[in-house]
Symmetry: C2
Subunit: 435 residues, 2 copies
Amino acid sequence: MRTSAVPVSRAPAQAPVHDSALTLRFMLAAHRRELQGMGELAQTCELVITVGRLVHALQKERGQAMLHLTLVAVRPADVRSTWAAQVDVAEAAEQALRQQLDDGLAAEAWPLTKPRCLHAVAHALHGLDGLPALRAQLRQARLTADQALDGYGRCIGSLLGVSIEALEGAADPVITHLLVALLNFMQAKELCGQERAHGVRGFAAGAFDDAHRRLMAGLVQAQERSIELFCQHAPAALLARWQALRADELALQRLRALSQGTQPQAPAFAPIWFDVCTARIDAMHELERELALHLAACCRERVTETTQALASLNQASRQYHELSIDRKTAVAYTLVGRPLDAAVNGDAMGDAMARSVLDVLLEQGVRLHEADQALAQARRAQVERRRIEQAKWRLVSQHGLSEAAAHEQLLRMAMNAGMTLLDVAERVLRDPGEA
Amino acid sequence: MRTSAVPVSRAPAQAPVHDSALTLRFMLAAHRRELQGMGELAQTCELVITVGRLVHALQKERGQAMLHLTLVAVRPADVRSTWAAQVDVAEAAEQALRQQLDDGLAAEAWPLTKPRCLHAVAHALHGLDGLPALRAQLRQARLTADQALDGYGRCIGSLLGVSIEALEGAADPVITHLLVALLNFMQAKELCGQERAHGVRGFAAGAFDDAHRRLMAGLVQAQERSIELFCQHAPAALLARWQALRADELALQRLRALSQGTQPQAPAFAPIWFDVCTARIDAMHELERELALHLAACCRERVTETTQALASLNQASRQYHELSIDRKTAVAYTLVGRPLDAAVNGDAMGDAMARSVLDVLLEQGVRLHEADQALAQARRAQVERRRIEQAKWRLVSQHGLSEAAAHEQLLRMAMNAGMTLLDVAERVLRDPGEA
């Protein structure tokens, strides 16, 4: 049996008493880095707004391309010139984005230093590189409506991917809520854009078949889901704006009801439908831009706040170094445990702590974690949607189905197999012999 | 009606023909940054190994503290000196970690530039700052076993949090699998450590009551879940090592069976149980270290591979600039669409592409996404576990329950309310009047 001669007093000699100085330094460093991240996010909003402008232009160009392709026999000059003018708008927006990307890459500006974001940009640029060819074929009417929808849809999807990757990684819960609101709103807007394009096609053709009707209804449902998430996370002012906008949807509802009916439609409804949808989507674009500006403003506000808090914390930390070591440990616990905003008031040093330090730190962690979850969900929804789109277009190209019929087939496969739409899509994409 | 006079030929004048040069530059930049990230991750492994060493020392110290607290009447000198020697080991490991952190912060070395990681380190340091006080109370036996378990558990949990945050953000799917394996293994090892500490307590007390038995069984189950995930993601060599280790668990199984029985136990089983568990956990520590080294080696390997691929891509990109513009576009698509490993062979320029560029890019994206999901899951499990622990200790302090009884109560509340354990924990933590 060993003795207790291993002296208890030996321990302190081997291990110096830590006066929490390192803990404080890490707290300060964490806040400093968060500050930096917030500034970077404000900068990211500029890129997101430029991307949003191009997405908006391409969404409209897609809708007009549908008019162009389907109404060309009825009034060719009109629809062709409107589409051509919109192509100019989109090309100008693309040029502005390319310029910004070019400058940002050369300057190694955030977010163009994140691998995922760079990857997403390369992906989106690759899509944009293919647009001239798509447009040339459209001019010569050598494209089906499905092919045009596919081309535009991929391009827009990859641009939305850039925004998602660019905005990823904010460390602040308030900011993360705004991000989730913004990402879901962008998603809802693209679903509205798809509804517009498919609707133009149906009205111009004079009828919606079963599959097409279900596709339209599905787009409305998906919009609602994204909007619901936007509403959960959006700031009150923008939420009110959205509700005002929503109050004015009577014409849209009437036309939607027509599209769900089985009677033949007058092709003249097509440009009316286009205009009604466009007015709504334009208003959404404005709201999206404001949301992005609001996000940038919040980031800058948080930078100011945090800078002040950091200055106070730095000062407290200097005062701390002048204390005796016993007092140091007690004070450090008070400082560390206090949420940053409470630490700024002058008398922070002596206060007793009501809540445990770890409670505060853990709660922060869990709040961050919850916000992360919402963000991850928004991102996942985007990836899943792209994946389902891809599977749909594979069915179109392999079996010569229409888009609506392919969509229908995916739904039926999912129902019969009791699988999710995503699982079915993955199966289709894995095994080309499937379906 | 407008005319079609908006000349179709105007568009190209406004929008220059893009020769895909920007797309290529972003592809190259993305690969360069991925390379950098891989190097940083290799560096992170060193920190994770140092943290793991301290965690291991504290896990053992916790187990010995249980022997110290519970067997002190039986053979005081022996258990006290063993525990004190282990304190020395832990303090040396802590000192090494503090030094590495101090140096890393000063040098702004990865991962000590990520806000989340800095936050996690501050949190962990704060826990370590409290260890001397905990040990002083233990020396004077002024601590209950529950309080000691709580103190060590929080400290170890926050250190595991550092490893999780440090390892977050790898961009490569192979690497991410290794990360998921490592994180789950660390989690499993901590659950084994808890089982050891709780078991010591039960054997030393001479009996396990109902709640204590269920707690022990729950820890075994939770280990199995983490180990299952480790097995899904681990490389074959380490998996074989684990299975070999596992084959040697007969003594552990016998003692576990005893702990699940209702008969009184001889307190002499306590140190035997401690030794059997410790042999296993020591072997797990070695495996964990190897897994981290394997991860670092894989990162370095990927850096070498990617550097070579990047050099070839750079060369191809230089050749590309000497081509005519028509040929440029065609070649760029080939380059961009090719997965990086295929792009290195010399004849990449002329090859036709079998798969579409977007398919390749999207598949990469989805693979990344799946790996991310697994990583997020490992991380979520960790946060949830901490949250449930916290709720348990709140019940202990508020209602004077034993740890096992508090755990039992959480389980019963979850069952009665049909809620998850996490939801119940959140409710307890939100409302102190609850339960």
